[in-house]
Subunit: 287 residues, 2 copies
Amino acid sequence: MNEFDVIKHFFQCRESIRSDVIVGSGDDCALLKIPEGNVLAVSTDTLISDVHFPADWDGYDTASKALACALSDLAAMAAQPAWFVCALTLPDINLHWLQDFANGLFDFAKPFELDLVGGDLTCGKSLSITITVHGFVPPTLALRRDAAKVGETVYVSGKLGAPSFAKYRHIPYPQINLGLALRGKSYCAIDISDGLAADLSHILKASHVGAHIDLASLPIIKELNNNYEIALTGGDDYQLCFTAPPGLVIDGHDVTSIGTIESELGLRLYAPDGALVELKKKGYQHF
Amino acid sequence: MNEFDVIKHFFQCRESIRSDVIVGSGDDCALLKIPEGNVLAVSTDTLISDVHFPADWDGYDTASKALACALSDLAAMAAQPAWFVCALTLPDINLHWLQDFANGLFDFAKPFELDLVGGDLTCGKSLSITITVHGFVPPTLALRRDAAKVGETVYVSGKLGAPSFAKYRHIPYPQINLGLALRGKSYCAIDISDGLAADLSHILKASHVGAHIDLASLPIIKELNNNYEIALTGGDDYQLCFTAPPGLVIDGHDVTSIGTIESELGLRLYAPDGALVELKKKGYQHF
């Protein structure tokens, strides 16, 4: 099989599941229709073998994780997922791996009503996947990093630490439904990819504010025995951290208030005994 | 410099040049506004060191070629360029190369009014660049691969063979202005990346038609001494091949009629003496 056969056999064989795809895979560009009153949300993410996932993962899990990470960025903007393109670099053509990869990609995409609309297949020394994901959101309802306000509460969804506990044999679940449920209730969010401390710091810098966090309130998986250092810096959680007025409840979602936005710049972490805590490590660093 | 410093220093330091960028680099997603009456055009392309460009190229040329290849896909749809995201995988942080790369990226993008609105920076064994480019076009004016009609003339822009002659030390110029000038005059085009024979065959298959091509009429650079085999299969030309009624003239653009769309399927190449020519090689193959 050459490049074109592979693309046709594994990636262009599925019917489009969306009516807003005017031209999908197989032309020079995809042509896509954004619903009125919405703007396009775009994010791109690369996953590299042995950096972001173990080289011995099968194609199915690899595709799932790549798509999960990309979708998480849409969740963090309260965007409705719609389309993605996938640039795949392979050291060789392994038909079994490719079939698994394609199955993983389409299976993971389907419940999010996400359509594959294009891609690129190249030959390179190591396996890598770059997914560019597209969604849409009414512009005034998007969750931005620069919108945290003094006096708001800081919330985190789900539990922290599962990926650190599982090392990186873990496929995150993107918080798309929570992102959509936050429309009109929150205006500021980030997804936790590099660790809560690092990612919340991005919000604080972009919003020119600070935060007071109570470590006792962090929702940590019980296997970590309250090791907040790992929960704060482990990364790969792909939960959402967001700000909103105190007392927020989102039906059907597990969200925990962990602190308060303050005018004094910087991130201040308080132990249960009231002591200010310094982290040894700030979060995941790629270089 | 860590990942975030590099992104901030080299890629987020420039002012946006477009008013339709609501949120650019630095948030989870970019938020972008498509003008009314238009649809989004999206394409993604990966370039790998020592596959698509020589490893000893400087950052400036590398960035220029990556963006040129991506833009060429917008040209082939008659789309107006607007925004791009860039996923960069580097074996290490070389500040000099990065400065060159960033300069190349912004310099090449500027005349096309193309804005960098996001990206990803990862560490991997070999240098690779995946650019996803976004533009827009009124849907009825887009140039598609599946729209060739029997009786139309086949045209090619510019001259073929320059990249093959220069080996791969060549930065193509994307035919954006020609694509825009073709709106309403042609409805079917492709950009020539894998060689005219292979790329025209994509049009023929998608449109369920065939073509008769007169090799004597091919616009070949004179350095190739009428070597039509190289001109047809060399690839990397990034000129446009399109179909339209006979006698088309596009002011300010060099386009050559090279043959005719026919109902009999397949690509038929005729030598000046009237003999049917078989190509030894069909075009660039990645695997």
